[in-house]
């Protein structure tokens, strides 16, 4: 079983975009940059991570990834709720860190 790294890639890309967006306050741009880098670090590990089939933590992480990616696709909503977006992505970072610890193997 694998983590949805394709969706994670899109979220990382969006974080970097927001880090260079003039509509975002400078301090929040720095946060998006830091989050993008953390998530990319997770991506590096998750691309080769293998999990047992039916691992609930993977299913939960994939659900969270889909939700956050969908929210980020709504640009107007994202820009109006940046603090909320940052909080969500920060939680995602923690979720993926724990997930990496559960990997059966790295191929």
């Amino acid at each position: 079983m694998k983590c949805d790294t394709a969706t994670l890639t899109q979220i990382i890309d969006k974080c970097f975009d927001l880090s260079m967006d003039g509509r975002v306050k400078p301090e929040q741009r720095s946060e998006f940059l830091a989050l993008g880098k953390r998530l990319r670090g997770s991506l590096l590990n998750l691309l080769s991570a293998q999990f047992d089939d039916g691992t609930k933590a993977v299913e939960d992480a994939n659900t969270k990834l889909t939700k956050i990616n969908s929210d980020l696709a709504n640009e107007a909503n994202t820009l109006n709720n940046l603090a909320f977006t940052i909080a969500n992505i920060t939680t995602l970072v923690g979720t993926l860190d724990k997930l990496i610890g559960l990997a059966k193997s790295f191929v």
């Binding site: 394709a6 990382i12 970097f16 975009d17 260079m20 940059l33 880098k37 691309l47």
Partner: protein, 310 residues
């Protein structure tokens, strides 16, 4: 009259043999050349994977003095400093797969261009013997009252040699058809695995890596620009320019496209091998090889640009 009928029959047989012969060598030569170039590009991508991640990691440390350079991060995971993001064994397996594809295309090209004589089997020998006997017959007729017999000796002797050559080409083409159709499922499996690898692993890392470098340099410049000297700002802006170009090139460059190009070109060979081999079938195969060559040239150009930026 009987002599004339016999010669006419032999000429018709010769024409049929000639038409049935397949001209594989140029399209297969083009396929092999493009495969080799593709394998070179994709192989370099795999070989540079760990080096690229290390560069990214150290560049990030350079721009952020708060960041330590470590072997293991706070989560206990190895950093890209010396840790293998991709295992040496994994990279070697992928490079070996690419070498296999390259070797296969070279074998096809060797076979297509082969001029090594092959022994006639029985029935071809019978035909050859018939023609030789005919040449002997005309030879014996020459000098007798049959005044035109000697004129036939030269062309019939050449025909014996030509039938042999056409037979060799048919043997070679049959061997090629066999190699291509039997190699098809194996080549497809290897290329599918490589394409999945590039699409799901290599490409996302490369594109997000280039964007990270750009975003980091942009953030660094925006945060520090008011305290920078003229020369420092110049240097930072030049770095942003290079990072932006590199990112743009990475977005365009599609290494998995080379693999799918190889698969499509090979499918064109398979289609032709299984076809009736009429001129339209041949033209279709040649077009597919030309398309593959063009794709490889475009990608090779993009790779050269990426390398010149970094």
């Amino acid at each position: 009259m009987k002599r004339l009928r016999l010669i006419l029959c032999l000429c018709i047989i010769f024409l049929l043999l000639a038409c049935a012969s397949v001209n594989y060598d140029k399209p297969i030569g083009a396929f092999q050349k493009s495969v080799d170039e593709s394998v070179g590009v994709i192989g370099k991508y795999y070989q540079d994977l760990n080096t690229y991640e290390r560069s990214l990691y150290l560049e990030s440390a350079f721009l952020d003095p708060q960041k330590e350079v470590l072997l293991t991060d706070s989560q206990g995971q190895p950093t890209p400093l010396v840790g293998n993001v991709f295992s040496a064994k994994g990279i070697k397996a992928r490079l070996d797969s690419l070498s296999l594809v390259s070797m296969y295309s070279k074998r096809l090209a060797d076979l297509a261009g082969s001029t090594v004589p092959v022994q006639f089997p029985a029935r071809a020998k019978v035909m050859g013997d018939n023609l030789s006997n005919l040449a002997t017959t005309f030879g014996s007729l020459a000098g007798s009252h049959d005044t035109t017999a000697s004129s036939y000796i030269g062309p019939i002797s050449s025909l014996v040699g030509l039938v042999g050559q056409i037979y060799l080409e048919r043997q070679r083409d049959a061997a090629l058809t066999k190699a291509i159709t039997e190699g098809d499922p194996l080549i497809r499996r290897i290329l599918d695995l490589l394409e999945a690898d590039l699409v799901n692993v290599v490409d996302p890392l490369r594109k997000t890596g280039e964007k990270e470098l750009l975003a980091e340099m942009v953030g660094y410049y925006n945060n520090k620009r008011l305290k920078m000297s003229y020369a420092e700002r110049r240097q930072a802006i030049d770095a942003i320019k290079a990072d932006a170009e590199s990112y743009s090139a990475a977005v365009i460059f599609n290494p998995s496209g080379l693999v799918s190009g190889m698969a499509e070109a090979h499918q064109a060979l398979v289609k032709y091998a299984k076809s009736d081999k009429n001129p339209n079938d041949f033209a279709e195969m040649v077009s597919a090889m030309e398309l593959f060559t063009t794709r490889v040239d475009t990608v090779a150009g993009a790779v050269r640009k990426l390398q010149s930026i970094r």
